[in-house]
């Protein structure tokens, strides 16, 4: 089918999802992007957020922290350092990530400081939305 593409979500420990999707929303480091079949090839780093996948069976959400996404015309692969299915994730899962990000932000200097603080802000926003 021309209007479908392969969606894969892998974390270091396992493959979380692999199915045909119509549309994938990705929280890219430079802003969200939505990939549909025929998208031009892009590799982007991720910021913590929600990957939303629309497939024939409906919508599915996955919470990812960091990693990257590889988009081609016929497939989207999200390679996340940490990923949870949206309905399973709990706040506690992310708390240690946030703590690590905070520690890093307080140590970082100069140009790295902005990035590290943005990461903290993204995480806090993500966790607030879960309530």
């Amino acid at each position: 089918m021309a209007d479908m593409m392969q969606f894969d979500l892998v974390s270091p420990e396992k493959r979380l999802a692999s199915f045909q999707a119509v549309l994938v929303q990705i929280p890219g480091a430079d802003g969200d992007l939505t990939a549909m079949p025929g998208h031009s090839p892009v590799i982007t780093t991720l910021r913590p957020g929600v990957v939303r996948v629309k497939s024939a069976e409906g919508e599915k959400d996955y919470v990812v922290t960091s990693g990257f996404a590889e988009v081609t015309a016929s497939s989207v692969s999200v390679i996340a350092e940490r990923a949870h299915a949206g309905d399973e994730v709990r706040k506690e899962d992310l708390e240690d990530v946030l703590a690590a990000a905070r520690a890093k932000a307080s140590e970082a200097e100069g140009e790295h400081k902005d990035g590290a603080e943005k990461l903290v802000a993204d995480l806090v926003e993500l966790m607030d939305r879960m309530d």
């Binding site: 894969d8 892998v10 974390s11 270091p12 420990e13 396992k14 493959r15 890219g28 480091a29 430079d30 992007l33 031009s40 090839p41 892009v42 590799i43 982007t44 780093t45 960091s66 990693g67 990257f68 590889e70 081609t72 692969s77 390679i79 350092e81 940490r82």
Partner: protein, 291 residues
């Protein structure tokens, strides 16, 4: 002639040893299956990661702006050897063969006049290396409490190594672990992780031109530390499978040896018993004849 009581005790003790080794073998077999599944599950991530970093480093790697993790410090004077071994013994030559590879490497590097530093992961390797190279040990990662290695452990080790690299403690880092071939064969392996060496992907993938967001350099900068963690994680998983495989075959051998020993001891016991009976008979008969 050993007395019967001693022999009997001996047989009982070897029997209980056999029970233990048999149980350990079965536990190792179960753990091996789990370790193999974990290694299998981790493969897609590692493959993607390597492919993307490989593609990127092929295009950015040659330039002057290449990140230090990829280009190196420009010298190879100080080597950090990360030695991954098991936390427990009783797994045949598993730990020793990794340590042997490391020892050879240390000798070679020293002969070339390089400085060597050792970071050990796993108690057993540390114990063995401490004997000859105590002065080279710079750190140790303890995984005794860890039941199943997770990515978190690998990320911890990676960030330790990376902060040492940023502090300029070494120029080249390699990891030493065992690749799992089969239950009877595990191959001690050396992989250089810093400066990172990634093979560029072959075939179609290389020809796909990607747009990079934010930029090639930024993506590479972001991914390289993760690549290091990924390599360490794969090595840890391989090692876990190898350890259980080695333990399984070692315990299988031990069980078989214990069985052989029990057979031998039983024969000896029966012979001694027979001799005692014969002796008593002779005494009774000669006593009766004397009357």
């Amino acid at each position: 002639m050993p007395n019967l009581k001693d022999l009997k005790n001996r047989i009982a003790s070897v029997k209980s040893t056999r029970k233990i080794t048999k149980a350990m073998q079965m536990v190792a077999a179960a753990k091996l299956r789990r370790a193999q599944e974990a290694a299998e599950a981790g493969r897609p991530y590692a493959e993607r990661m390597t492919a993307v970093i490989g593609g990127l480093s092929a295009s950015v790697g040659g330039s002057d702006t290449a990140p230090r993790l990829l280009a190196g410090t420009g010298s190879d004077q100080t080597h950090l050897l990360v030695v991954m071994t098991a936390e427990r013994g009783l797994c045949g030559g598993f730990n020793s063969s990794i340590v042997r590879l490391v020892r050879n490497r240390i000798e070679k590097l020293k002969a070339e006049g390089k400085t060597v530093k050792l970071l050990t992961v796993g108690k057993k390797g540390r114990e063995q290396l401490r004997r000859d190279h105590a002065d080279l040990l710079v750190g140790h990662v303890d995984l005794t409490e860890v039941k199943r290695v997770g990515y978190v452990n690998a990320a911890g080790i990676a960030s330790d190594i990376l902060s040492r690299f940023d502090a300029g403690e070494f120029d080249v880092a390699s990891i030493y672990f065992s690749t799992f071939q089969s239950v009877i064969s595990q191959i001690p392996t050396e992989t250089q992780i810093i400066p990172a060496k990634f093979d560029a992907p072959e075939g179609d993938e290389a020809s796909t031109l990607y747009d990079y967001e934010p930029s090639e350099d930024a993506v590479l900068e972001d991914l390289l530390p993760r690549g290091v963690a990924t390599q360490i994680f794969s090595a840890l998983l391989e090692n876990a499978a190898s350890e259980q495989g080695a333990r399984m075959s070692a315990m299988d051998n031990a069980t078989r040896n214990a069985g052989d020993m029990i057979d031998r001891l039983t024969i000896e016991y029966n012979r001694s018993r027979q001799a005692v009976i014969t002796n008593e008979l002779i005494e009774i008969i000669s006593g009766a004849e004397a009357l």
